[in-house]
C-alpha cells in the first residue's frame, strides 16, 4: 500500500480515523463495551476493533441487546464472530426484562423503545462507562449532529443543545460516576463506505442482506418477509418476491426491499443509484415523525 504521494484512499482514511477512536477509548475509558447488533455497521465496527488491537485480543467485551425478535442468521453470525475473536459476550435480554416486569411490551409489538431501559440497566449492572455504537451521521438528521464522543448524563440522556465542544481529534472521555460516553467510531462513514469496506475486506455478513426469493406480505407499501414473527393477516396475500434487507432490526418490524442484488458488488451498484435512504425505506419505527430519532436519542437510544 505504498503510495508515492503519501495519500490515503477514502476507505483508508476512514479506517485510520476509526482505529484511532477505538484505541483512544481503550486507553482512556475505564470500562468500555462494544454494542453489537449483528447488522452490517456493527460487523464493520467489530472488524475495525480487531484490527485496532491486533495481534492482541479486543480489550473490551461485546454486548448484544437481545430483543428476542432476532433473525436467526444474525445470532449465528454473532456467536461465530465472538468465538473467532475470543471476545467476551454480554447479552442484555429484553424478554427477560419483560418477564421480570421491569419493562412492558408495547401494544404495536415494537421493542425498539423498551430496549433503551434494558440497555441502560445492563450498562449500570456491568459498570460500563463507554459504549461503542455503529451509528453513522449520514443515517439521520439527528445523528448528523452528534459528536464522535457523545456525553450521556446519569440517566443515559443526550442533550443535543448542549454538547461538549469536540476539537480536532482530541476527544474528552472524562465523566463522573454514573455518567457515560457513547462513542461512534463510524461517524464519518456513509452507507456506501460500509459496503465498499465489506467488499474490500471480504467481511462475512448475514445472508439477509443479499437478495433471494422470499415469501412476503405488502403492508402499507412495505414488504415484510414471512418469518417466525410475521404471519400473514386475514386478507393479506403472500407474494413470492426477490427481496433483501437494507437494515437488520427486529424481525417483526424490519421490511425488505425488492432487489436482485445477490452479492456485495451488486449491492454497491444498487445503493449507488438508489433514491431512498436506508432507514426511511425499511424501518417502520422511524416513520413516526420528523424528529422521531432525536426524541429516542434524548432518552438514551442508540
Amino acid at each position: 500500500m505504498t503510495t508515492p504521494d503519501y495519500r490515503l484512499t477514502q476507505l483508508q482514511t476512514l479506517e485510520a480515523e476509526s482505529i484511532h477512536v477505538l484505541r483512544e477509548v481503550a486507553a482512556e475509558c475505564e470500562r468500555p463495551v462494544l454494542l453489537f447488533s449483528g447488522g452490517k455497521d456493527s460487523i464493520v465496527m467489530l472488524e475495525l476493533a480487531r484490527k485496532a488491537f491486533a495481534p492482541a485480543r479486543i480489550p473490551f467485551p461485546v454486548m448484544h441487546v437481545d430483543t428476542g425478535l432476532n433473525f436467526p442468521e444474525v445470532l449465528e453470525l454473532r456467536d461465530k464472530r465472538v468465538a473467532e475473536l475470543g471476545v467476551e459476550l454480554v447479552v442484555a435480554s429484553v424478554a427477560d426484562a419483560i418477564a421480570a416486569g421491569t419493562v412492558q411490551e408495547e401494544p404495536n409489538g415494537s421493542r425498539n423503545r423498551i430496549q433503551t431501559p434494558v440497555l441502560l440497566d445492563a450498562v449500570e449492572e456491568h459498570g460500563f462507562t463507554a459504549l461503542f455504537g455503529g451509528a453513522r451521521r449520514d443515517e439521520d438528521k439527528a445523528r448528523a449532529k452528534e459528536r464522535v464522543f457523545s456525553f450521556r448524563d446519569d440517566f443515559g440522556q443526550w442533550d443535543p443543545k448542549n454538547q461538549r465542544p469536540e476539537l480536532w481529534d482530541l476527544y474528552n472521555g472524562r465523566i463522573h460516576q454514573g455518567e457515560s460516553i457513547r462513542v461512534f467510531p463510524l461517524s464519518n462513514w456513509t452507507e456506501l463506505d460500509i459496503w465498499g469496506y465489506i467488499a474490500q475486506e471480504e467481511i462475512a455478513i448475514p445472508p439477509l442482506y443479499l437478495a433471494r426469493e422470499r415469501d412476503v406480505v405488502d403492508r402499507q407499501g412495505m414488504l415484510y418477509a414471512v418469518n417466525e414473527f410475521i404471519t400473514p393477516r386475514e386478507g393479506e396475500q403472500v407474494l413470492r418476491e426477490s427481496v433483501r434487507y437494507r437494515t437488520v432490526g427486529d424481525a417483526n418490524l424490519t421490511a425488505a426491499v425488492r432487489s436482485t442484488a445477490a452479492n456485495v458488488e451488486e449491492i454497491i451498484a444498487e445503493i449507488a443509484v438508489t433514491r431512498l435512504t436506508e432507514r426511511g425505506a425499511t424501518r417502520g419505527d422511524d416513520k413516526v415523525s420528523e424528529a422521531a430519532m432525536e426524541d429516542r436519542k434524548k432518552e438514551g437510544y442508540f
Binding site: T9, A56, K145, K161, L167, R258, L276
Partner: protein
C-alpha cells in the same frame, strides 16, 4: 390516504448502476469542508444545493422537506437543520455533518452555526477542516460575522478559505458589487494568515456558480464552487518533514503465539516513519531503531499522517501512552511553559491562576494559567491587555495565555504542525471541554 407501492427493484446491471458503482469504487481522497455563515446568508440553502445537485439527497429526505417547507419553493435549507429547536427557530445551533461525493472526491461537510453565541460549535466544525467556506450576502457586504468567521478559520489554520458572495441574483448579477466585496475581503485577509483565498460569486437559491458556471455572470472567469472544491490541492497541507508519533496505546498480546510482541499504537502526527529509521523516544531521550511498522493489514514499508499504525522498536525500552517518538536531531520542544492562543468555550470565565486539565496529543497533564496576556477583539483584531488587572476571557473570547504544566509537553508551533501544536482545556470539576489552544510563538 394513498398507499405507496413498494419500489420496483433497481436493475443492478444497468449502465447507470454500473457507472454509479464505478464512481463509488474510484480511488478518491476526502476533503473536509466547514461552512460558516447564518441562515440569513443562505448557508443552509447552499449546502442543500450542493447535496441536491450532486445527488446526495434521497427521495424520502426531499419529500420530508417538501412537506415541511412553508414558502412557495422547496426550502433546501431544511435538509441541514436537524434539531427540532433549529427548525423552530430557523437557526443553526450545532454542527451538522453532511456527506457527498463526486467522481473526483468525497466531501465531509461540517455545517456550522453563524451566531456568535454558538462560536464554540463553529470552532468544533472548523477544527478538522481542510477548507472553510464563508458566506457573504451580496446585498449586505462584509459584516462583523463574516470577519469573525474568516478570523476563526485563520486562527485554526484551515489551509484554504473560500468566500462565497451569495444572493448575486438580488443585486442584478452586478460585477461591481462582487468586486467591492472581494477587494474588501482581500484587504482584511492580508491582516490574517490566510494561505489560500478564493472568492466566488454565487446564487445558492438558483444554483449559479455552485455546481456549474453561471450564464448570468459571464464576467466571472473563475471556476464554479464545486469545481474548486474538487480540485483544490490539499496533499501538501500536512507536515511530512518532522517525524512525530505520539504513543496512544501499548499492544502486548501476552499470548503464546505473540509472546514477545510489544507494539506502540498511534496515529502519525508528522513526517514519514520507516523500518530501520533511527528514532528517539521522549521524555526518556533514549534512541533506538524502528524494527517494524504494522498497519491495519500487516507490516507496511512506511507510515505517514494520518495513518493509524503500530510501531515496534528494536530495543526493549520503557515506553507508554503519552510518550512521543521522533528523530534524534529533530525533536519537538519539550516544555512546561506553554504560550498559546486560546478560544474559551465556557460560561465561567478564564482567569489567571485558574487550574485546568490539558489534553495534548495523547498526553494529559494539569496546568495553571500563569498569565492572560491579552484578549483579542475578533472584529478589529485589537489586543486588549491586562493594564488594569481583572482581564478575563468570557464565552467565545479569544486570548493569549501562558500555562505552566505539571509535566512537560512535546510541542511544535501550531503553524508548523497542527497536531502537535494544539490542545484542549478541560474543567476538572465539571469535566466539560472549556477551551481550545493553539501554540504560537511569542510576539
Amino acid at each position: 390516504m394513498s398507499v405507496p407501492s413498494p419500489a420496483a427493484p433497481v436493475d443492478v446491471h444497468s449502465a447507470a448502476a454500473e457507472a454509479a458503482a464505478e464512481i463509488a469504487h474510484a480511488r478518491k481522497d476526502i476533503l473536509r469542508i466547514a461552512t460558516a455563515g447564518s441562515v440569513d446568508d443562505g448557508k443552509s440553502t447552499l449546502i442543500g444545493r450542493l447535496l441536491y445537485d450532486s445527488k446526495a439527497v434521497f427521495e424520502d429526505q426531499y419529500e420530508a422537506i417538501e412537506r415541511a417547507s412553508r414558502g412557495d419553493f422547496v426550502d433546501l435549507a431544511l435538509l441541514t437543520d436537524g434539531l427540532r429547536a433549529e427548525r423552530e427557530q430557523g437557526i443553526t445551533i450545532d454542527v451538522a455533518y453532511r456527506y457527498f461525493s463526486t467522481p473526483r472526491r468525497t466531501f465531509i461537510l461540517a455545517d456550522t452555526p453563524g451566531h456568535v453565541q454558538y462560536t464554540r460549535n463553529m470552532v468544533t466544525g472548523a477544527s478538522t477542516a481542510d477548507l472553510a467556506i464563508v458566506l457573504v450576502d451580496a446585498r449586505k457586504g462584509m459584516l462583523e460575522q463574516s470577519r469573525r468567521h474568516a478570523f476563526l478559520a485563520s486562527l485554526l489554520r484551515v489551509p484554504h478559505l473560500v468566500v462565497a458572495v451569495n444572493k448575486m441574483d438580488l443585486v442584478d448579477w452586478s460585477e461591481d458589487v462582487y468586486e467591492s466585496i472581494r477587494d474588501e475581503f482581500t484587504a482584511f485577509a492580508t491582516k490574517l494568515e490566510v494561505p489560500d483565498l478564493t472568492v466566488v460569486p454565487i446564487s445558492a437559491l438558483q444554483g449559479d456558480n455552485v455546481v456549474t458556471r453561471s450564464v448570468n455572470m459571464p464576467w466571472y472567469e473563475g471556476a464554479s464552487l464545486l469545481h474548486h472544491l474538487e480540485h483544490v490541492h490539499v496533499a501538501s497541507d500536512r507536515n511530512l518533514v518532522d517525524t512525530r508519533f505520539p504513543v496512544q496505546y501499548v499492544i502486548r498480546p501476552q499470548t503464546d503465539a505473540h509472546h514477545d510482541y510489544r507494539g506502540y499504537a498511534g496515529r502519525v502526527a508528522g513526517g514519514v516513519l520507516r523500518p530501520g529509521d533511527e528514532v528517539q523516544v521522549l521524555p526518556s531521550g533514549l534512541t533506538t531503531t524502528i524494527a517494524a511498522i504494522d498497519g491495519p493489514d500487516g507490516p507496511v514499508a512506511e507510515a505517514f499522517p494520518p495513518m493509524s499504525v503500530t510501531v515496534r522498536l528494536a530495543d526493549d525500552l520503557d515506553v507508554s501512552r503519552g510518550d512521543l517518538i521522533c528523530r534524534p536531531h529533530n525533536a519537538p520542544h519539550v516544555t512546561q511553559d506553554v504560550d498559546a492562543l486560546v478560544c474559551w468555550m465556557s460560561d465561567q470565565p478564564l482567569r489567571p491562576r485558574q487550574r485546568l486539565a490539558v489534553k495534548h496529543t495523547t498526553r494529559s497533564v494539569r496546568a495553571v494559567v500563569k498569565e492572560l496576556q491579552y484578549r483579542l477583539d475578533v472584529n478589529t483584531l485589537h489586543r486588549q491587555t491586562d493594564a488594569d488587572g481583572g482581564l478575563e476571557l468570557g464565552l467565545n473570547d479569544i486570548g493569549r495565555v501562558r500555562l505552566r504544566t505539571t509535566q512537560p509537553l512535546f510541542v511544535d508551533d501550531y503553524h508548523r504542525n497542527r497536531v502537535t501544536g494544539r490542545f484542549i482545556l478541560v474543567d476538572e470539576a465539571t469535566n466539560a471541554t472549556v477551551g481550545a489552544g493553539m501554540l504560537t510563538p511569542a510576539g
